[in-house]
Amino acid sequence: MTTSTSSGRRGIRLGYRANPVGISALGVILLWAVVALFAPHMIPHSVGEIVDTDYFGPVSRDLWLGSDYLGRDIFSRILMGARYTLGISLAAVSIACFSGVALGMTAAVAGGWLDTMLSRFLDALNSIPSKLFGLVVVAAVGSSIPALIATLSVIYTPGAYRFARALAVNVNTMDFMVVARIRGEKLPYLIASEILPNILGPVLADLGLRFVFVVLLLSGLSFLGLGVQPPYADWGALVRENIGGLPFAAPAVLFPSLAIASLTISVNLLIDNLPRRIRDRSPE
């Protein structure tokens, strides 16, 4: 049983099996990640440079995805926009999920008044409409990237908390938790070593889903002009800037929307098709 299998079955060596949809979705996500990292070296034109005499220009050999309402290269702007969309969303979702999951597990294990207080407080937070909350905060402190990240993570923490708590409550009733408690284990060990490994899969899937929500909310805020400020623009801001091109079927409004769609749909598809662990690992 311990000898690793040498047969030609794909993915067996790793003990996981992935399907083609998941792999291609992962490909799209990785592509956007590479773009976000290396955008400054990849853009053909400067972001603020006006390169076209016409506005809402069509797709051409020089301007691959046309030009925007000021005649700037939309291809370069999308590549640079990826940095903001991916970067801000990733930071926000990581903070939201980390704090939500940590608090959720703590509440489930500790129970009692701590659980009640945390749950009621976060429920109250959850009841505030997310877009309105974003609007208020940005109106109060102004729009900066740290403020955006903080706002987005506060908005998505209660959801992550609820999700993790629900999972952790189930694990908490298992006998091995009783055994660990009666061994005399303290809260940090119970959370990190007994519960987390058992809920990691669903939590990661939830993280991916929440990332999609954050991307969409960020794009929404930017569309309302409260997100990333000019001359820089994330994808949502790009759609907003060029919304005037809609009657002309300008590529400038089409391609940022496609970028948002491709990223969010890919993340969704990846979550639905995460590689599954193969339990049967006995040699032939």
Partner: protein
């Protein structure tokens, strides 16, 4: 080859694992069942007994398929039929009684509606007639209040009654053959007797053939005409019940039988330590659940004023039916559920009621081992991590010393070194229970509370685990408190036995005396344990007054 109701020829069933590997789980099985005959399929878990039984309905569980052979029921080959044709046969020719009736009933619909459903689906009879038939079946299965019980919901009847109602559901379509899939495994012995008796009477009355799946040879001996012994998807031995019981030829059958024979008690020579100071004294312990009432009593008290005493190196058994408070007692001693009143003295020192108020050393000395190793072992951790944690936690052992100690522990419980990196899900039931036990040993305790640790295991595996416990006691000088509803297990290992009934200790006995118990409940309990003798059930005389008092609450 005619005249047999069921003819299974060279049946092969294949399962596809999640890595795409194909496994043959039934390897060419042939079997006949005559009309009105009850054939038992017996074997350990994973031997394919349920898989074979289910093929009678043309059904295989998910991921499995019939790859060869034929299953003729009343002359029709179930393998070749379409799903619609099979659906027509299910319920009318072949019916099924599941292991867990509680899971098979819909909790939101009354029992009567569910029982007559089969008749409605197949349009066998008008609704009124179906109801009348159901009531006559309830009466035949000796259910209480046969006219009214159908109006109740599944949670309003007891487990044994629900199991008989499941049988009524199977019988209403007047099937020629019924599949009984371990129908009494989850029941208490006292209830099991009634259910078995009801099954036997009804199948005889209606001349119904049956296929009875079980791992309990003594139960099977009561009801089956013939026994088929299975192992690894192949038939090892077939014979009439008395042939198998008296002249078993195959080693596996002999092993099964041997697991039933009471073993001679081998006692550890009394270790005289510290002038008769008892290891554990429990004084008037009262434990309950729920919020406290105004007078400080818990809402539901599960254990009422139980006292016991255990000397060093000796074993105490606690028996009683499910719900009698025996597990709660163990939990209170371990400190999991703080006792409401009473005292626990361990090694001469009064223990805190809650685990939180005990010192790490006190917690280390009393370890508890749970019934279900599946839930007692963290499925996300390797065996090495599971065993390593108590070593680090209690003894501060790390690195090489820890590795060496883990190997020692695996040796102690007779597990190969190769399981170290595996997770609980990759182990068999018996192996998991050994890991579960090894974790308790890692703490180097003086007392181990064993809460039904063999109930979830097959007879042969359970016998091996009991042997292991005895050996470990000799080597390490442990004491056990053994909680079980299985008398044979408790008798095999314990010096003293406490019988509990509804939260109270009704009798304290020693195995030598256990043949002549005094309390009526103990007597009922002892007489309900099935014997290997096929005539046991028919010859069993129980006072119906007592059965009524102690079996239906």
């Amino acid at each position: 080859m005619t005249g047999n109701l069921v003819e299974i020829r060279n049946l092969r069933v294949e399962a596809t694992t999640d890595s795409g590997r194909r496994l043959e789980i039934i390897k060419g099985v042939s079997l006949d069942i005559a009309e009105g005959e009850i054939v038992a399929l017996i074997g350990e878990s994973g031997s394919g007994k349920t898989t074979i039984a289910l093929t009678l309905m043309g059904y295989t569980r998910q991921g499995c398929r019939i790859t060869g052979g034929e299953v003729r029921v009343g002359g029709v080959d179930m393998v070749g039929l379409s799903e619609t044709e099979r659906a027509g046969i299910r319920g009318t020719t072949v019916a099924y009684v599941p292991q867990s009736a509680a899971a098979a009933f819909n909790p939101a619909i009354t029992i009567m509606d569910q029982v007559v459903e089969v008749a409605q689906i197949h349009k066998l009879m008008p609704a009124a007639q179906a109801r009348a038939k159901a009531i006559s079946l309830f009466r035949a299965l000796s259910l209480p209040e046969p006219e009214a019980i159908g109006d109740r919901y599944p949670h309003q009847v007891s487990g044994g009654q629900l199991q008989r109602l499941a049988a009524a559901m199977a019988l209403i379509g007047q099937p020629k053959i019924v599949i009984f899939d371990e129908p009494t495994t989850a029941l208490d012995v006292t209830t099991q007797v009634e259910v078995l008796r009801a099954f036997k009477t009804v199948t005889r009355q209606h001349n119904i053939a049956g296929i009875y799946v079980s791992h309990d040879l003594a139960v099977v001996a009561q009801i089956a005409d013939r026994i088929v012994v299975l192992k690894d998807g192949e038939i090892r031995e077939t014979g009439t019940t008395s042939e198998i019981l008296e002249h078993a030829r195959h080693p596996y059958t002999q092993e099964l039988l041997a697991a039933f024979r009471p073993k001679a008690q081998e006692r550890v020579p009394e270790i005289e330590t510290t002038a008769n100071l008892p290891l554990l004294m429990v004084d008037q312990l009262t434990v309950g659940y729920g919020s406290r009432l105004r007078n400080g009593e818990p809402l539901v008290s599960a254990v009422q004023s139980v006292s016991l005493r255990l000397d060093r190196g000796r074993n105490l058994g606690v028996i009683g039916e499910s719900g009698c408070g025996k597990s709660t007692l163990a939990r209170a001693i371990a400190g999991i559920l703080p006792a409401h009143a009473g005292g626990i003295t361990f090694n001469g020192r009064e223990l805190g009621k809650a685990g939180r108020s005990r010192t790490r050393n006190e917690l280390r000395q009393i370890q508890i081992v749970f019934q279900h190793a599946d839930t007692a072992l963290n499925p996300a951790k390797s065996v090495e991590d599971i065993l390593g944690r108590p070593l680090t936690f209690y003894h501060g052992t790390r690195g090489k010393a820890r590795d060496a100690r883990i190997s020692e522990l695996l040796d102690l419980v007779r597990l190969p070194k190769s399981v170290r990196q595996r997770r609980p899900g990759e182990l068999s039931g018996g192996q998991k229970q050994r890991v579960n036990f090894a974790r308790a040993l890692a703490a180097e305790p003086t007392l181990i509370l064993c809460d039904e640790i063999t109930s979830a295991l097959d007879t042969v595996v359970a016998a091996a685990v009991i042997e292991l416990l005895k050996e470990l006691q000799r080597e390490l000088g442990l004491s056990y408190i053994f909680i079980s509803h299985d008398l044979s297990v408790v008798e095999a290992i314990c010096d003293e036995i406490i019988v509990m009934y509804r939260g109270q200790k009704v009798e304290e006995i020693t195995p030598v005396r256990s043949k002549v118990p005094e309390h009526p409940y103990t007597r009922l309990l002892f007489s309900s344990v099935p014997k290997l003798d096929p005539t046991w059930l028919d010859g069993l005389q129980q006072d119906p007054e007592q059965v009524r008092t102690y079996c239906h609450h």
